[in-house]
Symmetry: C2
Subunit: 267 residues, 2 copies
């Protein structure tokens, strides 16, 4: 079956930091003009979907909010579906998580009331401290559910630099409480399945392009989508060759600018 | 062969936070009066050995500095023996690590010069931040050696509370750099062997009493000492029963106050 929709990861795929990757915007526009649906799914929990619409727009890439999935929004969806609306949540994370959870009706407990939390939701937090680690630990040991938006170890920035990802903070809390979180972002298939449904597609009609084997490629293989590794982010060609079978991409491209040439116009 | 020396862990064994455990000080004095050598070995890297002499003294427990081992001091010994004297080190940790490393001639690089570090040494840091995590990551990815003073997940405080231990911070950095550190504190046998040598004892003549299965009991079993679990800290009797063979204690006591009754006067 031929591809109907693309799902692109953002960091290391469309841009690094504030800098769009060469040819990325043009490639996405060309795919759209060729009739493909285009979605974006980032595990980065720092921004809201609106902020991603703005960020992409600033790079000349128009994008509707309904075509964007983030691990924060996915967490809000998951919690809503699991009866957490109006419950209390302690957040180790940034605006993206806080806004998405508030919007679905959850009550964010601040530092003084962390002990009342029903849930502790964790993502990247550039203001992470030992004090927040301690509060997350105490709340979880007191019975709060431990939810990770993502476990990405790193994310790529401009100039080849990488920064610690949300997975580093999840790991610290996991050690402090002695148990693993419920994971919502990629490679969990929960939110990716929702995008496939929105696209009115069969998973085999979806191509997922990303730079991480343990998230983007793994989730694509898990749902039976076409997995495409791009080499502009974290993983290298060698990483892909050495990876276990479930994390091996079906296609490897240097960058997404190669995709319009590979996926010819359908109609 | 009979026991000649005791090695006591501190947090959860002799005290919790600032509060000595009931009967602990008296028990240690009685063992000394019965002719046993007494040493202390804490994985907690926050204080210098001098500060532990003071803290124990404040609880009425006299103690010579040469009878105290800490994971920070052990790290300084290890680095000295491995040619690191006068090399540069970035520290994610507190006074205990900084002072012990400075004392052996290492040069601590501060936040602006972290990229010059030859070593990154990590322990408990109550001022841990995402910024420090990033600097540790960048230095290690640029080639600095990654050293963990300890991997303790937690440590016990007054009123039954526990706090995140140095192992939580080690885990965050480990995920950020994608590789494991060299571990110096318990259950590494490096520093414990040094105490056994100082005691002029065979390992079978040493009893090691602690509250953690994965550090105190494991290191005791590894060197062939008598492993004693005390139930005033982290591990429970049930934890001990469910533990893998190498982490199972030879003796379990409610607290170290039982020890003088169990170890009768030798001479």
């Amino acid at each position: 079956m031929s591809v109907k929709a693309f799902v692109f990861d953002l960091d290391g795929v469309v841009y690094r930091g504030k800098q769009p990757l060469p040819g990325a915007v043009q490639a996405i526009e060309t795919l759209r003009q060729s009739g493909y649906q285009v979605y974006f799914f980032t595990n980065n929990s720092s921004k809201t979907r609106e902020e991603y619409v703005e960020k992409l727009g600033g790079m000349g890439l128009r994008c509707d909010i309904n075509h964007i999935m983030t691990s924060s929004y996915a967490t809000a969806l998951y919690l809503t579906e699991n009866g957490a609306k109006s419950k209390k949540v302690y957040v180790v994370g940034m605006k993206g998580i806080r806004d998405e959870l508030t919007r679905v009706g959850m009550q964010i407990v601040e530092d003084d009331n962390f002990a009342e939390a029903d849930f502790v939701v964790v993502g990247i937090d550039k203001n992470f401290t030992y004090d927040k680690l301690t509060k997350a630990q105490q709340a979880i040991l007191a019975g709060a559910e431990f939810i990770a938006t993502n476990r990405d170890a790193t994310f790529p920035m401009e100039n080849g630099r990488i920064l610690p990802g949300g997975g580093t903070i999840v790991a610290a809390i996991e050690v402090a409480v002695g148990r693993a979180p419920i994971l919502i972002g990629k490679p969990s298939t929960y939110a990716m399945q929702k995008l496939v449904t929105v696209a009115s597609a069969d998973p085999s009609q979806v191509a997922i392009a990303g730079d991480r084997l343990d998230t983007d490629i793994l989730v694509a293989n898990r749902i039976g989508a076409l997995s495409i590794l791009v080499l502009t982010g974290i993983a290298t060609r060698e990483d892909a060759e050495l990876a276990p079978p479930e994390m091996r991409p079906r296609l490897i491209v240097e960058s997404i600018s190669e995709l319009p040439g590979l996926f010819a116009k359908e109609s």
